[in-house]
């Protein structure tokens, strides 16, 4: 069935609809050439329409091991070609089967490069995926829908759970789940941490009552300023325990410290993003997925120092507290998808917790 994507500025991109499902949301693009399943199941994309710039999608099928959360939270997907006959030893389902099963609206056979160029030039916009003959008033209504502000609540868990380890002296981490990616938890768990994952709205005192060795602030979707109640809890955690934040966790930490965040024109989403360590001058290739950034100027009079910046646009990619064992990065050291060059950041967290 012929379908289209309509952006708020009126531009239209044609393609084929995978199913009859319509979708609306903020349209963003990711330039990674592999990792489509990890991207679809990354809760940080909640309620967004994701475009993948690599035109051949589904080449190696799908498998449960690649899931980064319990389900896909995206509103929709825009791609070039859907691979019908994938090849890889891990395959459980084809990509088409996966889309059907997860009820992901998808527009394919799209000139995703044209769309990417549009977003790059005009900035992130809302868009609607619908059948070619959809009435304009329906599209207008969908475009008028506001960007949801409750996305963290949508992706977070409702009840805490614990990943146990076979060691009574294991470092104990409480992870606040704003939409945590599975591989972050796996990475810490593989390093020997016992982890209790708690819902996003867990009060600080409850966390401290668990007496963790360290607190982890996870990645997640949306504008960090949409969750002031979480920010105020994080404020209470500062200075109590070692804290490590990733992505949204990094932004929330900055806001809790009194810094500011702002929305990027079209964000950083891909597996090839270079960041520079300001101390050593070394450059690291990172996996990123963020639409907001911490305002560098707002850090000036705070006890925070910038540790990493983006090589592409100079924006803040990491920071550290000058007095407490607190640090955070904007990018994704857990990879999945993306380069595994930054796993050392988890080691640093362990060190902060007093583990050698």
């Amino acid at each position: 069935m012929n379908g289209k994507l309509i952006l708020e500025d009126g531009s239209v991109f044609h393609g084929k609809l995978f199913s009859e499902m319509r979708a609306s949301g903020e349209v963003v693009f990711n330039t990674g050439m592999t990792g489509y399943q990890e991207i679809l199941t990354d809760p940080s994309y909640c309620r967004q329409i994701v475009t993948l710039t690599y035109p051949l999608i589904g080449n190696y099928g799908t498998a449960r091991i690649f899931n980064q959360s319990r389900k896909s939270f995206v509103s929709g997907l825009i791609i070039g070609e859907i691979c019908e006959f994938p090849s890889n030893f891990t395959i459980e389902k084809t990509f088409a089967e996966y889309l059907t099963e997860n009820k992901i609206p998808c527009l394919y056979d799209v000139d995703t490069r044209a769309l990417t160029r549009k977003i790059r030039a005009a900035g992130t916009m809302k868009g609607v995926i619908a059948a070619e003959d959809t009435a304009q008033n329906i599209i207008d209504e969908m475009l008028a829908l506001p960007i949801p502000k409750d996305v963290v609540a949508q992706v977070s868990i409702s009840e805490p759970y614990t990943l146990e380890v076979d060691n009574a002296n294991a470092p104990f981490v409480v992870a606040m789940d704003f939409g945590v990616k599975q591989h972050i938890l796996d990475s810490l768990h593989n390093l020997g941490c016992k982890i209790t994952v708690v819902p996003a709205n867990t009060p600080a005192d409850k966390i401290l009552a668990m007496n963790p060795d360290g607190i982890f602030l996870s990645n997640g979707p949306g504008d960090p300023k949409d969750v002031p109640e979480i920010i105020s809890e994080i404020k209470k955690l500062i200075g109590t325990k070692p804290i490590f934040g990733i992505c949204l966790g990094h932004q929330l930490l900055a806001l809790a410290m009194g810094a500011d965040t702002y929305k990027l024109k079209f964000g950083h989403r891909g597996s090839n993003q270079p960041v520079k360590n300001l101390e050593t001058g070394r450059v690291y290739i990172t996996s990123q997925n963020h639409g907001y950034a911490v305002d560098e100027k707002s850090l000036e009079n705070l006890p925070l120092e910038i540790t990493y910046i983006s090589m592409n646009d100079g924006t803040v990619e990491g920071m550290r507290h000058k007095d407490f064992p607190i640090y955070s990065v904007q990018y994704h050291p857990e990879a999945s998808p993306g380069p595994r060059d930054n796993m050392y950041l988890f080691d640093e967290f362990l060190k902060m917790m007093g583990v050698n």
Binding site: F13, H14, F29, T31, G32, M33, T34, G35, E38, T53, Y54, P55, L56, N59, Y60, I65, F66, G80, E81, C83, E84, F85, P86, S87, N88, F89, T90, D109, D111, T112, R113, A114, T116, R117, R120, A121, G270, S271, N272, Q273, P274, K276, G281, R282, V283, I285, M311, N312, A335, S336, P337, G338, P339, R340, D341
Partner: protein, 1075 residues
């Protein structure tokens, strides 16, 4: 300013002549390196023996030495130039090996030359198998169980322990020379013996074979601050077992999950760090199809063929960035030339699929073993880009210029199903085509094909998409919607015409009427994330938006020359690039179309716009429709471009330069005869025939021997001298398809001196920059002859006649630009052999030695400027006081079953130049540079055909007088006895007692003079002897003319300095004239 402030002058070593395994990619890499260094204000000294390259142009380096790439010559140049640094990782394996030798000989240390880029220790760690193994083991990277042996016994012992199959690879070679896969002990012994011979250090590696696994490559960069990135990963369509240079390759990898990809990416970075490489590096992996088990196959600690491919595939300039790293920059300090804003420290991403397809020389070497294995056989490659694999593979196939336009070959129509299935089992150049045919006929499932070929099902499924659609196309009516689908798949108009039985023009018309047009997209390293400034485009039918912003300036398209093949090498890329430069100098926008990733012309900052596309009428017209240029220049892209002239002109495109009609007058036999009659110039008698009977009658009338060949060819393809009717019949049935559309030419074969001329004509004046005399008499293809500038033996009268004929021919053909004429001089009389109204193989050579920018001038002439206004006058330009010798270079070591004897069919893959004020030394340099190891004393074997026995006598006598020991086969020895020369008699191959082959193997024969007995039967003794010389690296002279010249050189060089080097700038500037 380089970061290393001590550097003022840097020497760059090129890779020498084009051979299989080392082609134009190093001209691209070296030119980019020189430009990157000059940009930093460094003085650049370049050494390369290959005159056909751009890098040996005086505008590329401050001091250009076209000298043999030997330790002796490089030492002399280093002592003279005193560079501060040496950059050797951009000159292929040849350059790298030389740097290692220079370092080990203490030359670098003695002269205070710093080895830039990857340090010697890292080179050794990557290249020496034992050290590599230790390094990999230390960091826990798996490599297949292996051992290094220096003799056969140890090899067998290892095999008994590990089992078969085993891969054998010689240490320190290029292109995998001498390696192979052994399935049993007999094969093992054979391959090990050969491998030991080829290894520069007498070692071979034997390892567990992982044949059938996925072959994955990574291009990795590291700087001195330990920043590492991967530029690109590539997946070989052919599984491990076929040399990567002979594999069809896609970028990025298609069948790897993110987890697979990151696993190998992490391993690559770990390895480049452990090895300590600074610059570019290539890593090859074998990945199991059924798990994440992998092995590291090899690391190249330098810029490679794959780097060139990765650069062109992504837009990331690996050679340039490697050069900047070598002079001290770190990746985060180097600007990304594509975005101008971001830095070189990032990983390119692409939003398209790239396919590389090898170009093999089997059309030339019809008797060669076409089986593909660990020894590379391709001479060149094409690359294509599209938004789908189907589109990219189909573009690649039609870029090959092998007479196919899709995955279908003419001969399939004669094959029954059983034959198709039998052929599926062969690993050769036709395999992908056969797979498509199997799928088209439904003879096997994808899984069955995978079981046989080990080609990943992902690729087979894609080929099936194409095959299924072709089948559908046969049965449905060609509506606009079906046509749209066909273009979406990627089929060419010609293919659609072929399948539907409609004329191609109708398809094009229908496409245009229905607005089914390609869109052009940019290659930008970042998948559109940033604004990019690369004027580098590809077409696709899978897009809505076209990104090309067409300008209103004057603009002209230059057609490139496609893949490197025998007969059409890097020379034509040189010409295309110079034409582009000339246009840009004139303020005209220059647009280039080419599909060869190894070349300078496909570097995105050479032209104003680069279209990476097949060179077919359809693809070129699409670009013309888009760009609307003033016209097209076809005379610099070899036969590839010339062949498009007529169809483009017919479509209403203006062809700058010589008109299509005049091109046809030069190329069409009968029309050319009319031209000759008009200007009263003789040619060897000949006829054009369209059937066998006419050929036989004609040959009888002309008289044997005759030269036979198809019309419209380059490089003497399928050209032979036949001596009788039987051979003629054989030729007509085997080598050519003769039809009224494709006549065969039968010419009298005249033995005489062959002379070649390149000239520039503006339809008023004819400038002849120089004349080249061939050492070998007519009958040896001009591309395989040693050519000498200026002529050494021609009389003033002959030279006058040649100049006169050249002028008359150029004017009669109304040439506007370059033309090349070949003459044969017999007893003082000059005959025309052929005229090519285009640039030729010798243009770069002649441009360099005469210091006349021939292509630049010709481009201006083609655009309507006169020679007079540029200061040129009709006639032969005064010859220079020095001599330049161009010698052919062959890749016989890579092509078993190919006869090395020279004939009218071209066999060389590359060339070198020797230049000197002294002729004998120029010749010496050319011969040394060509890699011929001419002995100064020792034993020469003579075994010549009866027709040559008389002529051979004096030659052998002279060798004997120089102190060489002579051995000869019985007949030849008898002939020598008749003039009182004693030569030891050795038995022929089948006479078991004293076998020639055994003597060659034992190293008791140091040179062979062997002429070819008539007939093409390769099982003759001569063939075996000639092959034995190749396998054992001793010179074999198959023309008495070459032998005479070698003798003169040996005589003359007895009392001369062997090593004497001057830069081209010195020669052309007339300075330092001290021979």
């Amino acid at each position: 300013m380089p970061k290393k402030s001590n550097l003022k002058k840097v020497m760059v070593i090129g890779s020498g002549p084009i051979v299989i395994g080392q082609a134009a990619e190093f001209d691209y890499a070296g030119s980019q390196a020189c430009r990157a260094l000059k940009e930093e204000g460094l003085e650049v000294v370049l050494v390369n023996s290959n005159p056909a390259t751009i890098m040996t142009d005086v505008n590329i380096a401050d001091r250009v030495y076209i000298e043999p790439l030997t330790v002796d010559f490089l030492t002399a140049i280093i002592e003279k130039e005193r560079p501060d640094g040496l950059l050797a990782t951009l000159g292929g394996q040849a350059g790298l090996n030389l740097a290692v030798k220079l370092a080990e000989a203490g030359v670098l240390e003695k002269n205070n030359v710093e080895l830039l880029g990857t340090p010697l220790s890292a080179i050794k760690k990557a290249e020496d198998r034992e050290m590599f193994k230790e390094t990999m083991q230390a960091i826990g990277e798996p490599i297949p169980e292996s051992t290094i042996v220096e003799d056969v016994h140890a090899a067998v012992a290892f095999a008994n322990e590990i089992g078969y199959p085993l891969i054998v690879r010689p240490a320190y070679t290029l292109g995998g020379t001498g390696g192979g896969i052994a399935e049993n002990e007999e094969e093992l012994v054979e391959i090990v013996i050969r491998g030991l011979k080829y290894s520069m250090i007498g070692q071979v590696l034997i390892e567990r074979s992982v044949a059938g696994w996925k072959e994955i490559e990574f291009e990795v960069m590291r700087d001195g601050n330990d920043n590492c990135i991967t530029v690109c990963d590539m997946e070989n369509v052919d599984a491990v077992g076929v040399h990567t240079g002979d594999s069809i390759v896609v970028a990025p990898s298609q069948s790897l999950s993110d987890s697979d990809y990151q696993l190998l990416r992490s391993a690559s970075l770990k390895m480049i760090r452990a090895l300590g490489i600074e610059g570019g590096c290539n890593v090859q992996f074998a990945l199991d199809v059924n798990s994440q088990n992998y092995y590291v196959i090899e690391v190249n600690p330098r810029v490679s063929r794959s780097s060139a491919l990765a650069s062109k595939a992504t837009g990331y300039p690996i050679a340039k960035v490697s050069s900047k790293i070598a002079i001290g920059y770190t990746l985060d300090e180097i600007t990304n030339a594509v975005t101008h804003k971001t830095k070189a420290c990032f990983e390119p991403v692409v939003d398209y699929v790239v396919v590389k397809f090898p170009r093999w020389p089997f059309d030339k070497f019809v008797y060669a073993d076409k089986t593909l294995g660990t020894q590379m056989k391709a001479t060149g490659e094409v690359m294509s880009i599209d938004r789908s694999f189907e589109g990219a593979i189909l573009k690649a196939v039609r870029s090959l210029e092998i007479g196919v336009n899709r995955l279908y070959m003419e001969q399939f129509k004669d094959w029954d199903d059983a034959k198709v299935l039998r052929r599926l089992k062969l690993v050769n150049d036709e395999r992908l085509f056969v797979i498509a045919e199997v799928l088209r006929r439904g003879l096997a499932t994808v899984d069955e094909i995978f079981d046989i070929t080990k080609i990943n099902p992902w690729f087979i499924e894609k080929i099936k998409n194409i095959a299924d659609f072709e089948n559908k196309l046969k049965t449905v009516e060609l509506t606009a919607e079906v046509l749209r689908e066909a273009k979406f798949i990627g089929l060419a108009d010609k293919s659609i015409a072929e399948i539907t039985g409609k004329p191609m023009k109708e398809i094009r018309k229908m496409r245009i009427e229905n607005n089914i047009l390609p869109r052009f997209k940019m290659v930008d390293t970042c998948a559109g994330e940033f604004d990019a400034f690369t004027p580098y485009y590809y077409s696709t039918y899978r897009a809505e938006e076209d990104e090309v912003e067409v300008s209103n300036k004057r603009k002209i398209i230059v057609l490139g020359s496609g893949p490197i093949r025998i007969g059409q090498g890097v020379e034509f890329d040189y010409c295309s690039v110079h034409s582009v430069w000339a246009l840009r100098e004139m303020g005209i926008e220059a647009i280039i179309i080419n599909n060869n990733p190894e070349t300078v012309s496909t570097d995105f900052d050479i032209s104003d716009r680069l279209y990476f596309e097949p060179l077919t009428t359809e693809d070129v017209l699409n670009i013309i429709d888009k760009e609307k240029p003033e016209g097209v220049i076809v005379q610099f892209g070899g036969q590839t471009a010339i062949n498009l002239a007529a169809s483009l002109a017919e479509a209403g495109v203006k062809i700058f330069g010589t008109s299509v009609d005049d091109i046809d007058r030069a190329e069409d036999r009968e029309r050319f005869d009319e031209v000759l009659a008009e200007v009263n110039i003789p040619r060897p008698r000949g006829i054009s025939v369209t059937n066998l009977e006419a050929a036989i009658n004609g040959a009888a009338e002309i008289g044997y021997p005759v030269m036979v060949r198809p019309s419209y060819v380059l490089g003497g393809r399928a050209m032979e001298i036949v001596y009788n009717e039987e051979e003629l019949r054989d030729y007509m049935s085997r080598a050519v398809k003769v039809t009224p559309d494709h006549p065969v030419l039968v010419d009298r074969y005249m033995q005489g001196t062959e002379v070649e001329v390149d000239a520039i004509c503006d339809d008023v004046d004819v400038v002849i920059p120089g004349i080249m005399e061939h050492v070998e008499r007519a009958g040896v293809h001009s591309g395989d002859s040693i050519a000498v500038y200026p002529p050494q033996t021609l009389s003033a009268r002959v030279i006058y006649t040649i100049s006169d004929y050249t002028k008359r021919l150029a004017l009669a053909l109304h040439v506007k630009g370059l033309l090349n004429i070949q003459y044969v001089v017999v007893e003082g009389k000059v005959y025309v052999i052929e005229v090519n109204p285009r640039s030729s193989r010798t243009v770069p050579f002649l441009s360099k030695v005469t210091n006349i920018k021939m292509v630049n001038v010709a481009t201006r002439v083609a655009l309507g400027h006169s020679l007079k206004e540029m200061g040129y006058y009709s006639g032969l330009v005064e010859p220079k006081p020095y001599t330049a010798v161009k010698a052919p270079v062959f890749s016989f070591a890579k092509m078993q079953d190919v006869d090395i004897s020279l004939g009218p069919e071209m066999k060389s893959t590359g060339e070198v130049m020797g230049i000197d004020y002294h002729y004998a030394r120029a010749l010496y340099k050319a011969i040394i540079g060509a890699g011929m190891n001419i002995p100064k004393n020792g034993c020469v074997l003579f075994t010549v055909a009866d027709k040559d026995k008389d002529e051979m006598k004096q030659l052998a006598k002279a060798f004997s007088e120089l102190g060489f020991k002579l051995v000869a086969t019985e007949g030849t020895a008898k002939a020598l006895q008749s003039i009182g020369i004693d030569a030891e008699v050795v038995g022929k191959v089948h006479q078991r007692s004293v076998d020639i082959i055994q003597r060659i193997k034992d190293g008791k024969i140091h040179m062979v003079v062997n002429t070819h007995a008539p007939g093409k039967h390769i099982l003759r003794d001569g063939f075996k002897i000639r092959r034995a010389t190749v396998e054992h690296g001793i010179p074999c002279l198959t023309s008495l003319d070459t032998a005479w010249e070698v003798l003169r050189m040996l005589t003359s060089m007895r009392d001369r300095r062997l090593v004497y080097s001057l830069a081209i700038q010195d020669y052309v500037g007339g300075g330092d004239e001290l021979a």
